[in-house]
Amino acid sequence: METYPLLEKEKLKELYRKMLEIRRFEDTVFELFGKNLIPGTIHLYAGEEAVAVGVCANLRKDDYITSTHRGHGHCIAKGAQLKRIMAEIFGKKTGYCKGKGGSMHIADFSVGMLGATAVVGAGIPIATGAGLSIKLRGTDQAAACFFGDGASNQGTFHEGINLAATWSLPVIYVCENNLYAMGTSQSAVMRIKDVADRASSYGIPGVTVDGNDVLAVYNAANEAIKRARAGKGPTLLECKTYRRRGHSRFDPATYRPEEEAEAWLKRDPLPRFRTQLLETAALTLEEITRVEEAVSAAVEAAVQFAMESPYPTPEEALDDVYA
């Protein structure tokens, strides 16, 4: 186990709580989807919790993030309310987007969550723009931009990061490398092992970390965000991770070799961090149990809120097109 800067107990608890919130939330969404309670499609963040949580734990409320089709975890990590996320996924009026966005398009501007786009890679230049805005307004905010390994083959990755590098913008680009884009493995669509190596094309630092180790992510993001706030420009931070389930809905993910899946799933960030907390006596079992109970209750409350919430009225479809 590597050593990390000592985090306060409350911070560690917070990391664990957020990760668990995401896990339980996603497991619940999966179940509810199977019961036909959720329309459309879903892309779950389960397995990748350490990334969003490790990064966002370094952000303030007034910092920004941009997100993707696999965005529930980003929302939760940035501090959005479980119940309003869940309501949105249900298509309810009480959801963050009044039911207009759904699973793939959640935003919570009140906590700096600038929204999820379902166009792979499209959030990258938008995060660059948030960074530009910070620079122009002269604040010490920062922005984090989440995207996948697959997204790193999009033109927007190249253009968006190059622009931020050129202007030394306070953005960290977080590649959640879960080794696959749908059924396509990374090795089938690029000739390099580490997406972080692409940073050299833009003259910025590229860092690869174990994305299933929340403290490793925390640490790397901490450095990158410090650089950003100090006006030293962007960083490309690659976090290697793995989905616990298929890409979406009922994808059984049979394209992932069994041994690979097995090895990765063993490295589940949650039990791993839990063990670590206990072994280092950072938290007691009792404290952990209390967190777990609180999280279960919160997720249940979110489901109940979503279930009981009304749908929008049909005519609301016509609202919100123009400001």
């Binding site: 987007c97 039911g99 759904g102 166009v119 997204a151 749908m182 749908y311």
Partner: protein, 332 residues
């Protein structure tokens, strides 16, 4: 022959019909190959249209690509002008926005800009349409954009029969064809002959004959129009339903002649109303058949909003039987 007359044939889905077209043309012509995100053996395309093709033709001819829509279309162009006949799949039509330069400025214009020295025989297959609760980035219908680009052909099959016949024609055509598939149609069954056939471009299909009102409808809306026509028939209203099948070229003659006969027209399409496909059809009629029109032209389309996620909202914006019936009654 129209789909609806083909009752005696075997029934297969729109998805299977498309796959048969791909397979037959790949067998027929070595130059035909597929490329796109996850079209290969791991996924077979988001809607499984290419199931079995990588297995049968190998990974050289059924190529999984990175998530790089511009490069997918650009690579198809480069292959097309050097002797191949690529079929590119864009996983959702909404993402054609990422390849618009390659589609509209390169594929469409290369032949013209270079004075006819070359042709660009390629097909871009794209699922479009609303109704699957997948919100604003996966539900659009952008046919009108592509109609507005000279050099492109635009096919919009509404039935398994048309899907197969038009796709085979598209693959053999020497121009870039934008091939629109509707995501709610993939599972729909219809009669498709075992024997080879082609559906020509530029020939509308009269999906139902009638004499009181003409409905021009495309893709999934053809079926809603037919349902509306059936309901209206019970009220004694005789509706003719015309499916253009290709928007470029557009069979203006069949549409104009129908309207000359009925004197009334309702145009039913997905895609938002303003500057959509319906606008062009209406404009043609206002130019060529105004003296025959006994009532205002009516467009039934999506309102000018993005497609919302929640089914309550989404159902409100997609044209349905009720809205079509109301529009028909309005022009009677």
């Amino acid at each position: 022959m129209s789909t609806l007359e083909a009752d005696a044939m075997r029934e297969i889905t729109y998805c299977d019909a498309l796959r048969e077209a791909l397979r037959e043309e790949m067998l027929r012509d070595d130059r035909v190959f597929l490329l796109g995100e996850d079209v290969g053996k791991h996924w077979h395309g988001a809607f499984k249209v290419s199931r079995g093709l990588a297995e049968e033709f190998g990974e050289e001819r059924v190529r999984d690509t990175p998530i790089s829509e511009s490069a997918i279309v650009g690579a198809a162009i480069g292959a097309a002008i050097t002797g191949m006949r690529p079929i590119a799949e864009i996983m959702f039509g909404d993402l054609s926005t990422l390849a618009m330069d390659q589609i509209a400025n390169q594929a469409a214009k290369i032949r013209y800009m270079f004075g006819g020295q070359t042709a660009v025989p390629m097909v871009v297959r794209m699922p479009f349409g609303a109704g699957a609760s997948v919100a604003a980035h996966h539900s659009q219908s952008l046919e009108a954009w592509f109609m507005h680009v000279p050099g492109l052909l635009v096919a919009v099959p509404s039935t398994p029969y048309d899907a197969k016949g038009l796709l085979k024609t598209a693959i053999r055509n020497d121009n870039p064809v934008m091939f629109f598939e509707h995501k709610l149609l993939y599972g729909m069954k219809g009669s498709v002959p075992e024997d080879e056939y082609l559906v020509p471009f530029g020939e509308a299909d009269v999906k139902r004959s009638g004499k009181d009102v003409t409905i021009v409808a495309t893709l999934f809306m053809v079926h809603k129009a037919l349902a509306a026509a059936e309901a209206l028939a019970k009220d004694g209203v005789s509706v003719e339903v015309i499916d253009p099948r290709t928007l470029t070229p557009l069979d203006t003659e069949t549409i104009v002649n129908s309207v000359k006969k009925t004197g009334r027209v309702v145009i039913v399409t997905e895609g938002c109303r303003t500057a959509g496909v319906g606008a062009e059809v209406a404009a043609i009629l206002a130019e060529e058949a105004i003296d025959y029109l006994d009532a205002p032209i009516k467009r039934v389309a999506e309102p000018d909003t993005p497609i919302p996620f929640s089914p309550v909202l989404e159902n409100f914006v997609i044209p349905d039987e009720k809205k079509i019936i109301k529009a028909v009654k309005d022009v009677l």
